[in-house]
């Protein structure tokens, strides 16, 4: 799990945080993954969170045409050039 995703989970309200950590632990075990497959909503919640982290990874995002560093840098440059807050 990336630092950003760890921070995202850590900042959640405690019921969601505890639930997500439990789901992550269950998903790491082969039997757990099979169990989760029978609970589509839980699997989707877990899958969504993991996908958020996975596709935030810069190399994977870049392959899909997204460069967050460049977007943020362009924003900074424009703000400075135009004297925005």
């Amino acid at each position: 799990m990336s630092d950003a995703l760890r921070g995202f989970v850590a900042a959640a309200p405690w019921p969601e945080r505890v639930g997500m950590r439990a789901l992550l632990a269950v998903a790491r075990r082969p039997r757990g993954a099979r169990l989760l497959a029978r609970a589509p909503l839980l699997a989707q919640a877990l899958g969504g969170t993991l996908a958020l982290g996975r596709y935030d990874e810069p190399r994977l995002a870049a392959r899909l045409g997204w460069d967050a560093t460049a977007v943020a840098a362009r924003g900074r440059a424009l703000r400075r050039a135009e004297g925005r807050p």
Binding site: A12, L41, T49, A61, L64, A68, A72, R74
Partner: protein
């Protein structure tokens, strides 16, 4: 414990859409104003355009606040200077006239006509509101437009509070160019320039109440210092979820039995689709186009979009199917559905945290079903080869049950609703808390019904009206606005 005291004319709690507006208007009129904000001020240099990091930084509970009920609904709320205006999509609608007419008939609120018109104009001018151009809207909007045109459905480009926007595609994760004119870079600086004292990290714990008159607030500052603000008038603008909690904790405003009730929130979801052409949804303004063909039924479509990580989280597929669809991310388009809800929820405190209850009623469930079916129709008409509905495999929109839905909501309203009659509402038509002196509310909590459109302009217009009411002056007329965002 160290204690700090402050004496002002007006103490405003919350620097979001409502509080920042009131604070600026009052301070610019020469009043002594304290503006207390629980969260931090955010430096846009720290906006990285990376969703997980920004969710943790800019949102309360990392955007994972969730309702209890069927189905559970994710309710992301902004935190810090600018409040939710910092992390919304910037969409600007005036309160629909039929909603204002309903408020007059049902709640005795006189908000129609020239006076509220002047408030809308003043807010829109302050926020540089204008219509998005097709070029800036990008290909995701072009897909929605093509579908709507082929079906002959009413549609248009949205009006937004943006200036110098280059379509970074991350409005809801912190605008890196400061193009979005949220209150943290518009009204709050105006308030501060006019002499208001902005105090961030101020966690307001209770109101000071003496014989049915509110005299100010008591807050805990970062580092544990206690802050006591003595004020002639106090204005709460902590947001729809937190304002009723502070009132209840202070033991006020509960006489009508309406405090914390009547929560509406515009349940929402989104549909992704695979297109033949490159869409690159995050290039352009994510929320730039609407389809209001079914607005009379309480169904509204607006484009939504974001970087790959955002789309990956929203994509309702698993495993290899998910990976295959994400490999074609440049070809994915997305359209959101928002329902003007008649269901009502509630909020109360458990310790110091909100417990939000909301169950989707049958009429709203039917709206979601119809909305999903029509979005699929629109995306197919636009040429989508695959449509990814946010439903379990094999479930069609028309047969979806509550538990099948993946809903989010962005517009909580109504938990301290306005009603001219003290037995039916928490505040009166001037947003003064019934039965108390010295206390007004200025956030979404006062909005007495679902709007059917994004609420920030309604909240800011009501806040403007309140500020001038407190000053005892009419709202000045504003010059007309330009029609297009520069």
């Amino acid at each position: 414990m160290k204690e700090r005291a402050l004496e002002v004319d007006f103490c405003v709690v919350g620097a979001g859409g409502g509080g920042a507006v009131v604070a600026a208007e009052l301070a610019e009129a020469g009043a002594r104003v304290a503006l207390l904000e629980q969260g931090p001020g955010h430096d846009p240099d720290g906006f990285t355009a990376r969703p997980p990091e920004m969710l943790a930084k800019l949102y309360r509970d990392a955007g994972q606040t969730t309702t209890i009920g069927s189905p559970p609904i994710l309710l992301p709320l902004g935190r810090g200077v600018g409040g939710t205006t910092l992390v919304n999509s910037g969409t600007c609608f005036r309160t629909p006239e039929h909603v204002l007419a309903r408020w007059r008939a049902e709640f005795g609120l006189e908000l129609e006509g020239a006076a509220i018109e002047a408030c809308f104009e003043r807010v829109e001018r302050s926020l540089s509101v204008g219509e998005v151009t097709p070029e800036l809207a990008g290909e995701n909007a072009a897909v929605a437009r093509r579908g709507a045109e082929r079906l002959g459905w009413s549609h248009g480009y949205l009006r937004r509070n943006a200036r110098g926007c280059v379509g970074s595609g991350v409005c809801v994760f912190g605008c890196p160019t400061s193009a979005k004119q949220h209150t943290g870079i518009t009204y709050v600086p105006r308030a501060v320039r006019a002499g208001a004292e902005l105090i961030t990290g101020a966690d307001v714990r209770e109101l000071s109440v003496v014989r049915s008159r509110v005299r100010g607030v008591v807050a805990r500052l970062k580092g544990g210092e206690r802050l006591k603000v003595r004020a002639g008038e106090t204005i709460l603008a902590c947001g729809t979820i937190h304002t009723p909690l502070l009132l209840a904790h202070s033991g006020v405003a509960g006489a009508s039995g309406q405090l914390g009730r009547n929560l509406s929130l515009h349940p929402a979801t989104a549909v992704l689709a695979l297109m033949g052409e490159q869409v690159n949804m995050a290039r352009g303004v994510p929320q730039s186009f609407y389809v209001d063909e079914f607005a009379q039924e309480g169904i509204m479509f607006e484009t939504v979009a974001g970087p790959p990580s955002y789309a990956a989280m929203a994509l309702p597929l698993q495993g290899a199917e998910h990976a295959r669809a994400m490999a074609r991310y440049p070809h994915l388009a997305q359209l959101g559905l928002m329902v003007s809800d008649s269901s009502r929820g509630s909020v109360h405190a458990l310790g110091r945290r909100p417990v939000i209850r909301y169950t989707l009623g049958e009429a709203d469930l039917e709206r979601v079903r119809r909305g999903l079916a029509r979005i699929e129709q629109l995306l197919r008409a636009a040429g989508a080869s695959e449509v990814y509905l946010p439903l379990p495999r094999g479930v069609a929109p028309g047969t979806a049950r509550r538990g099948d839905l993946r809903l989010m909501a962005f517009h909580p309203l109504g938990t301290a609703r306005a009603d001219a009659r003290a037995r039916h509402g928490v505040v009166d038509g001037d947003l003064a808390v019934h039965g108390l002196r010295g206390l007004h509310l200025a956030d979404g909590s006062v909005v007495p019904s679902s709007l059917g459109v994004n609420p920030q302009i309604t909240i800011m217009a009501l806040a403007t009206r309140l500020a001038f009411h407190l000053l005892g002056r009419p709202v000045p007329a504003s010059p007309k606005l330009a029609s297009t965002t520069p």
